[in-house]
Amino acid sequence: MDTCIEKIRAIGADLLAKGEVEIIIGFSDGSIPMAARPVAVSSRDDMEKLVFNSTCGLNLANYVSKNSLSGKGAKIAVVAKGCDARNLVTHMVENQISRDQIYIIGVPCTGMVDKRKIASMFEDEITKFAEEGDTLIIESALKKLTVKKTDVLRHNCQVCTHPNPPVFDVMAAEPVAEQTLDQPFADVDNIAAMDPEARWAYFQELTQNCIRCYACRNACPLCYCPTCFVDESSPQWVGKGQNQTDVTTFHFLRAFHCAGRCTDCGACVEACPMGINVREFTRKLNKDALELFGWEAGLDLEKRPPLDVYSPDDPNDFIK
């Protein structure tokens, strides 16, 4: 993946030179190890800022619909891995942006690393992180580890079946091989196998450390409502404190608002400062979307999302 950055920069420089786009949204290096910072590049001199590596785990589609430029009709280029591109498609399907406004610089993705998993291999804080092909070299004051990237991939990347952008204007590298999984939702099945009380306890425990910072919501490209339901005051749908019922309500409804739209990009988990795997909620919805409607979000510009259209053969056994 690290080799494609030169290509990305060259494409970017060309786009700016030809005046085809006003800005390029991509990632730059962060100020601490394993951090990547979303950045908007608007001049050739800043092109060197762009990087792409295994720590670019956020979803840049988030910066398109919420960017003030997009409202002005400016043309924007986005460096997009498979999931970013799928969320751009979702934006287009949901009329948040138009296709001709966006220039997709597609990046075939070999997965993003699970920063928490890596941090947990150390007793002290990580001081250095380097990537060489499939090998990661990570250092702290106390030790130095060399690990295979495939051993520390995020869960959503382990189960990803669309690492290549389904829609793009240009690719920065050759597509990578795509996997098919026999059991794409083993994690969901494991929870489903528990009895109801155990499931309830599982989700209560999952969210008990939530601090309601809403990083999961704000990192999500799907969450673009002008006023989120948790911020409504009349009526006030959900309490704002740390009461576990309010916390659960928030997570349940946030997830449900992503039903049939989620691309499992993992930005919510990546952003959570408390290490809560909020994907546990959306994964169930993604499984249902696939099993009930044969739907995976963000693959097709023409098809309407399942909860957006009525079809006579929609499953309806639940209506009594």
Partner: protein, 55 residues
């Protein structure tokens, strides 16, 4: 999908009910509400999604 997610989170499926009732179907509405009330009453008090200020 909403019912499924609630059930997945451990909420009792018998407490979740979806019906399609037209505004003209008053009797159906009454029947459905009665049926659900009886069913839920039989389940006993719900402990999930209930706030407790004494905690």
């Amino acid at each position: 999908m909403m019912g499924n997610l609630l059930e997945h989170m451990g909420v009792d499926r018998d407490r979740i009910h979806f019906s399609w009732i037209s505004s003209a179907e008053a009797t159906k509405f009454v029947d459905v509400v009665k049926e659900i009330s009886d069913k839920v009453r039989a389940l006993g008090p719900n402990k999930k999604f209930v706030k407790d200020y004494n905690k």
